[in-house]
């Protein structure tokens, strides 16, 4: 088991046990951080392929709304099923949209993904059944049939999130080490070469797009359950922008990087809300600029440098 997976195991166990003695609000925050980290993990896979999706909010929103609708339409209450439903729905839509999107690159890929997310946003805001900007309260989830109460209420969702993150990190990590995963940077470097070696670049991108969508759907579903309510802003392009920001912040060095980045981002947001509530965008913008100019490989590269220096 290599370094990343070892670190993953340690972190997950520590967090799972530690959550029993941590105040509710920290567990809540951790749930959000990890859930959003999932979205960024998906973006990271695309980023390595040289693509930036400015529309992950589409799948993030689909995951959230899937939870709400499943509760309303099917009376589904089990947390695991709800998150799974959100993930699968997001993936299914990505399979369809991917046929189109996989043909584009660079700016056009970014813009088209943006367009799709704005289409969802426009539909949601104007739609009466999905009630505009206000509504959609999400009922508290159940866990394996048990109603939420006591420790389970507070920690159940967190443990589910940890489980999802474990699967995701393990999966992406193995994926990136596999022949198909190596096609991320290969495609970014030279698409023609990949085609001439015999693999369809479009197909590879399509697969990565679906992976990113599934992860975003899972993240959205979890956040909806944690926060207890859904609104169309989760599909607005600025939400996508924030995810892109965290992707740059994290770097593409490891499947664990997005979660570190997500934690830093939420900490940043917490401080900004507390001490400079009217300057959030400014802080984001300045930070992003500094990152791109001076730390383009993300914060994970700092960690990698230190690890390399530590080794003999």
């Amino acid at each position: 088991m290599d370094g990343t997976l070892r670190a993953l195991a340690v972190a997950v166990i520590a967090l799972a046990i530690g959550s029993l003695w941590t105040p509710d609000w920290i567990v809540f925050l951790a749930t959000i951080i990890i859930a959003k980290g999932l979205v960024v993990l998906g973006l990271m896979v695309l980023w390595r392929t040289g693509l930036v999706s400015f529309g992950q909010a589409l799948y993030y929103g689909i995951g959230a709304y899937a939870v709400g609708m499943a509760q309303l339409a099917f009376g589904l209450r089990d947390a695991f099923l709800l998150v799974a439903f959100g993930t699968v729905l997001a993936a299914a839509i990505a399979v369809l949209l991917g046929f189109l999107l996989a043909r584009y690159r660079d700016i056009f890929f970014a813009m088209l993904s943006l367009a799709f997310s704005m289409i969802l946003y426009g539909t949601l805001v104007k739609s009466a059944t999905l009630c505009s900007t206000d509504c959609f309260a999400v009922l508290p989830p159940r866990f394996a049939g048990m109603a939420a109460g006591g420790t389970l209420a507070k920690n159940g969702l967190f443990w589910l999130t940890l489980a999802a993150a474990t699967i995701a990190v393990y999966g992406v990590h193995r994926y990136l080490a596999s022949p198909l995963g190596a096609l991320t940077t290969a495609i970014r470097d030279n698409e023609i070469r990949v085609e001439y070696l015999g693999y369809s670049v479009e197909r590879a991108i399509h697969i990565k797009y679906v992976i990113a969508a599934a992860l975003a759907g899972a993240g959205g579903a979890i956040v909806a359950l944690a926060v207890g309510h859904i609104d169309p802003d989760s599909t607005y392009w600025t939400t996508s922008g924030e995810f892109v920001f965290v992707t740059i912040l994290s770097g593409a060095g490891s499947a664990l990087a997005p979660f570190v980045g997500s934690a830093i981002f939420e900490a940043l947001r917490a401080y900004a809300t507390a001490y400079a509530p009217y300057s959030w965008q400014m802080i984001l913008g300045v930070f992003l600029l500094l990152l791109i100019l001076f730390l383009p490989q993300g914060v994970w590269s700092l960690f990698q440098r230190r690890v390399r220096r530590a080794a003999p």
Partner: protein, 258 residues
């Protein structure tokens, strides 16, 4: 006996520019065919059509008896035709070994195994063996984007051979390489390919190299093949001298003398 490659009446025009006019060529198993011609004569267009990058306006391309004219490059590669590029197409940010590793990963299966790591001991051994054959083992850990031109070319060709192609098209394998090194590099390439029993078609501007390595030569001019045959005969052909190589100084003076 079916020819390895059978090209019939290929035509390709870009607007009013005729890049290929009624090209008919056959290549047999294991042959080494040189392609000469001035710039813009249609050699690279020919290579691009055979490898699927361009679709001809009309005409057919048959490989091992199968019509591959309309297939995309990756299908043609799977069928057994590989190519190298005038400007080497490599993965700049990966190491030389990784470049081959990626190529190997793709070559090993249509459905790439998801849970098997790419970097395995056996694959690395294969990669090192191939690098050694091409004489670039010393560069194995260097980033491909920082390689000297000759090494890039060899890497490009090495990647193309990983799928054990039956036909390999080399687009100007020695262009950009100094005169002293040209023969060394061609020796390396041909040595590695001979072992693989692969037919080769290569585009070349240097007549010495053509003479030394090709058993047959195709001369291109303005989109057509103006001469075909053994190297010496083709190079001496007056049409070829007019359109491709130029008339040797001695002959011109002799012709001009009263």
């Amino acid at each position: 006996m079916t020819a390895l490659l059978a090209v019939h009446h290929l035509n390709k025009a870009f607007g009013s520019v005729v890049a290929a006019k009624d090209i008919t060529v056959t290549v047999g198993d294991g042959e080494v065919v040189g392609m000469i011609g001035a710039n813009g004569a249609g050699k690279t267009t020919f290579v691009n059509m055979v490898t699927g990058y361009l679709k001809p306006n009309s005409g057919t391309i048959e490989f091992l008896g199968r019509d591959v004219t309309q297939l995309p490059p990756r299908a043609i590669v799977a069928a057994g035709i590989a190519r190298s590029f005038q400007i080497p197409q490599i993965f700049g940010s990966a190491s030389v070994a990784d470049n081959l590793l990626i190529a190997l990963g793709i070559a090993e299966g249509g459905r790439l195994p998801l849970w098997r790591a790419l970097r395995s001991r056996e694959r690395l051994a294969t990669v090192e063996r191939v690098l050694d054959h091409f004489g670039i083992l010393a560069y194995r850990d260097q980033a491909a984007g920082l390689l000297p031109q000759g090494v890039r070319k060899l890497l490009d060709i090495a990647m193309a051979t990983l799928r054990a192609p039956r036909l390999l098209l080399l687009d100007e394998p020695t262009s950009g390489i100094s005169v002293e090194e040209k023969f060394a590099i061609m020796d390396t390439i041909m040595g590695a390919l001979r072992a693989a029993r692969c037919a080769v078609m290569f585009v070349e501007h240097d007549m010495d190299i053509i003479g030394r390595y090709a058993s047959r030569v195709l001369a291109f001019a303005e989109g057509t093949i103006i001469a075909e045959g053994a190297p010496a005969a083709v190079i001496a052909d007056p049409k070829v001298q007019r359109y491709v190589t130029g008339v040797p100084e001695a002959m011109r003076r002799a012709a001009a003398a009263p």
